[in-house]
């Protein structure tokens, strides 16, 4: 995985991966594919500071921006926890706009290697809000979730999910 990532680095250019200074590129890599002639495949990268993620539970928040990826120098991946700030929320929900929350990444556009050697990737970047102990704040989870969460001990999210990829 490191070797393939290194080759991706050389192709894409060092500027795309970057530290906190690179706001634009962070948003670009997490956004949806450009409709039309963009045949060059999108280089999906980590979830880093300023990445906007979709919230897929019923905790009240809709969109959340990553502030910090706990664990991981380059960013968070599928199954990791992040610290995020709520950017968009439902009018009456458990969390309000501007609140700093923890979240578990349940869907990531960047592929993640499985232990059998294959790779999985999802359509978008999605997160489930949790509290400091790791228990989900909401009571429902929408969409498919990977079973990488089991290893990370997020069993509660798995039980709430409708579909496990």
């Amino acid at each position: 995985m490191a070797a393939s990532f290194a080759s991706k680095c050389s192709r894409v250019g060092r500027s795309l991966l970057g530290g906190p200074g690179n706001n634009l590129s962070g948003l670009q890599s997490a956004s949806n594919e450009v409709v039309g002639n963009n045949v060059w495949s999108q280089q999906r990268t980590f979830i880093q500071m300023r990445t906007v993620l979709k919230v897929v539970d019923n905790s009240g928040a809709k969109k959340v921006m990553c502030i910090q990826a706990l664990k991981g120098k380059k960013g968070a991946r599928l199954g990791d926890t992040i610290v995020a700030s709520v950017k968009e929320a439902m009018p009456n929900g458990k969390v309000k706009k501007g609140k700093v929350v923890y979240g578990v990444v349940v869907r990531a556009a960047m592929q993640r290697g499985r232990c059998d050697g294959s790779e999985v990737k999802f359509d978008d970047n999605a997160v489930v809000l949790v509290d400091k102990q790791g228990q989900p704040i909401g009571t429902r989870v929408f969409g498919p979730v990977p079973h990488e969460l089991r290893k990370k001990k997020h069993v509660k999210i798995l039980t709430l999910a409708k579909h496990i990829a």
Binding site: S41, G117, S118, E119, F122, D123, D124, P144, A165
Partner: protein, 168 residues
Amino acid sequence: MRLEKCWFCSSTVYPGHGIQFVRNDAKIFRFCRSKCHKNFKMKRNPRKVKWTKAYRRLHGKDMTQDSTFEFERKRNRPERYDRNIAENTLKAIKKIAKIRSDRSSDHIKNRLKTGKIQRQKEARKQLEQDIHLVKAPLALAQDSSLRLPKIKVNVSQTQTEENQQMEE
């Protein structure tokens, strides 16, 4: 461990190969290699892409209905391990694969047969008509080795009499 089929080209995806893409409606697309994955991202329909199994089956190029396909149906019930059954299954898999490949090659041969016969007929006609391009007809008549061998047909006496009667 499970051998999956590539969504685009229908080839088997062995463990350790390929990418699995999970769409938000929870549909899983498995690809055997980046070629199929890239074609999928281009939104190409496998039924229109000539080299895929989907196209070949749709256009009758490959065998569609056969009893050997029944053995490969997906079963979700795990079987209790039995050494004898496992051994016999492994032997059967080899035999079934051979039978299937023989039948599919026969199917292709049958499909190409009419074209082959047509081409042979045309070749024979060309040999009779255009031989003057190769050697002059006079020289051909003199040299007996260059002509097609004359086939002698023994016609019985009774048959010719019958034919004469029918013609009259």
